[in-house]
Amino acid sequence: MTDLAAPEKEAVTPVVDIGEVEGLSEKPESFGRQAWDRFRRHKVAIAGAVMLVLIILLFIFAPMFTPYAPDEPNVLERNQGPSLNHPFGTDDLGRDLMARVFTGGRVSLLIAFVVSLLATTLGTLLGAIAGYLGGFTDTAVSQVINLFLAVPLLPVLLVFAVRFGSNPISVALLLSLFLWIRAARVVRGQFLTLKSMEFVQAARAMGAKPMRIIGRHVLPNTLGPILVEATLLAGLAIILESTLSFLGLGVKPPDTSLGVLVDEAKGFITDRPTRILIPGSMITLIVLSINFLGDGLRDALDPTSRVGD
């Protein structure tokens, strides 16, 4: 009996009992696992995620392998269409458009990432404070949000861009300054709803401290919406960056971005439509992928939805 002979099997194997009926899988699944299962079923979101990862990898690593530098002019090969040598063609200075799209894309993605991170963090912080504390703080933050909502975004961005724009980081900071309100609105609303939920009341009744209630009971429940908002903000940042750059007020040469490329191409729309189509569709592709991803996350991160629902 002391050796390693076959371990004792479970003495009783229960026949079907009530406990087996409802939602009792063999091994309980973690929330992350369930979210992943839901996400996996969202075909469009998967497509978006895959596309986005491919694009990011491409932008990060491809410039190391392209034979041309993005800012290397070549007077002999100006304004060419796509060819084997230059798959995306060249611009009016003979620079390789593929190399420029990749480097410009990097900048656009960098801006998207910074804006998403910054605006979401700032918005979450202020939205959470306003929503949880309520009262005067909430009124103050809400009025600031309303103020921001009342300004016509593009003209004001333009004015600010004239003063502060021109390099990618300043464009990112500028966009964050105007986009945090979106995250703040979402988070404030979530906090308002959640703080009156019974489980928050229950946590108080169980003797939890306020910081614990926020950190453990409210914030995790807003994580889904926050992530979704962060994703959508990234997409929006790319669009706005392109718009500003197209108007000559965002990223400025020699720095480049997808918006700058579109801007540079605008004089050649009839002669070389590929010059505007390639960076333009790249913008669309990125933003579309991001939005698909956001859509999938929205469904996957809702803790109350079930696999198969």
């Binding site: 009992d17 009530i18 406990g19 409802e22 939602g23 009792l24 309980p28 929330f31 939920m197 019974e198 489980f199 009341q201 229950a202 946590a203 108080r204 009744a205 169980m206 003797g207 939890a208 401290k209 614990r212 453990r216 009971h217 995790p220 429940n221 994580l223 803790p303 109350t304 079930r306």
Partner: protein, 342 residues
């Protein structure tokens, strides 16, 4: 229940008012009662009678706009006006609350076990997470959750309503409190599940030896569980008696009305229910006299002029009525629970 020893909870002249545009809304008006160790006291009343507000006031869970006066001694300590941090340490450890809606009373992003373990570790940081989860499993077992060792790792949405309420009970007794406050613990559940959950609640109370304040609007629910019943109306206690006594010999016209309006299975078909006419008074504009006077079939002039006092009628049986002496005897067979329906 014996009445020797000190009460776990002694509420004295507790009043709660909320400031509104139209003046103060007095939800609880001069409430006094005792709860003895291990005893179950039911507080029964309609919506707006102040029964839940009373509980939230004790635990300091009302919004800051509430004006609370009076006294509530819990094991000799004054709860009203207690420093929030001290009160927080009492909540969930020495006084636990069971909430009405088990569907929303759990945080959807954490497992049930996680949440039961949390209440243990909040109050005793020396307990390891593993140990706490093990205790959570035992507690789930205690309240009759099948396969507790697996269920403990499941999320609230994987539980049925009845199971969630059981888990809620497990959570409430996790730290062996001396007082349980159950606020409409079965209102959100199917009638078929209600009885089971009440049994679980009674068993859990027995297990921990805790006293219980059971807040409900369902008189039928208290019959099997409570030792004493207090009927609340308009923020005040209208009748207080031992459970049996209250059902067999209701004195107050309001209590009689309540009991008469309970439908019975053993009644002849076609007999109409006998509801209390009218609505409870607005707590913003309470009548000058007895709060129930406008709906009372026995009212006299004095009822409309001045409020009645809660007075002892027989030993341990109190009623708030001007006309106790002149009320007709209880001869309605409907007033006898399970009695012949003729």
């Amino acid at each position: 229940m014996t009445t020797n020893g000190n009460p776990v909870l002694r509420v004295e002249d507790l009043s709660v008012a909320f400031k509104t545009k139209h003046g103060y809304a007095e939800a609880v008006r001069g409430l006094s009662y005792d709860v003895m160790p291990g005893e179950s006291v039911a507080i029964v009343g309609e919506s707006g009678s102040g029964k839940s507000v009373n509980a939230l006031a004790l635990l300091g869970l009302l919004p800051r706009t509430a004006r609370i006066t009076g006294s509530a001694l819990f094991e000799g300590e004054e709860l009203i006006g207690m420093d929030p941090d001290t009160l927080r340490k009492i909540r969930g450890r020495r006084i636990s609350m069971i909430f009405q809606d088990p569907m929303t009373a759990f945080n959807p992003v954490f497992t049930i076990g996680n949440q039961i373990a949390e209440i243990i570790t909040i109050h005793d940081s020396s307990v390891s997470d593993n140990e706490a989860t093990k205790r959570a499993t035992d507690l789930l077992d205690l309240v009759g959750i099948p396969h507790p060792e697996r269920r403990v790792h499941q999320y609230p949405h994987e539980y049925s309503g009845g199971m969630r309420q059981r888990a809620m009970i497990a959570m409430a007794i996790a730290n062996s409190p001396t007082l349980l406050i159950a606020d409409e613990p079965t209102t959100a559940l199917d009638v078929t599940i209600q009885a089971q959950v009440m049994e679980t609640l009674a068993a859990a109370q027995e297990e921990t030896g805790a006293a219980m304040v059971l807040i409900t609007h369902d008189l039928g629910l208290v019959a099997g569980v409570a030792d004493r019943v207090q009927v609340m109306y308009g923020g005040r206690i209208f009748e207080r008696a031992e459970t049996r006594e209250l059902f067999y010999n209701p004195i107050n016209p309001y209590t009689r009305g309540l009991i008469q309006s309970i439908p019975r299975l053993n009644e002849e078909r076609g007999v109409r229910l006998n509801p209390i006419p009218g609505n409870p008074p607005s707590i913003i504009r309470m009548p000058k006299g007895c709060a129930f006077s406008s709906r009372c079939e026995f009212r006299t002039q004095v009822c409309m002029d001045q409020p009645a006092e809660l007075e002892p009628v027989t030993d341990g049986h109190w009623s708030r009525c001007h006309n106790t002496a002149t009320l007709p005897p209880v001869d309605d067979p409907r007033l006898i629970p399970g009695g012949a329906g003729r």
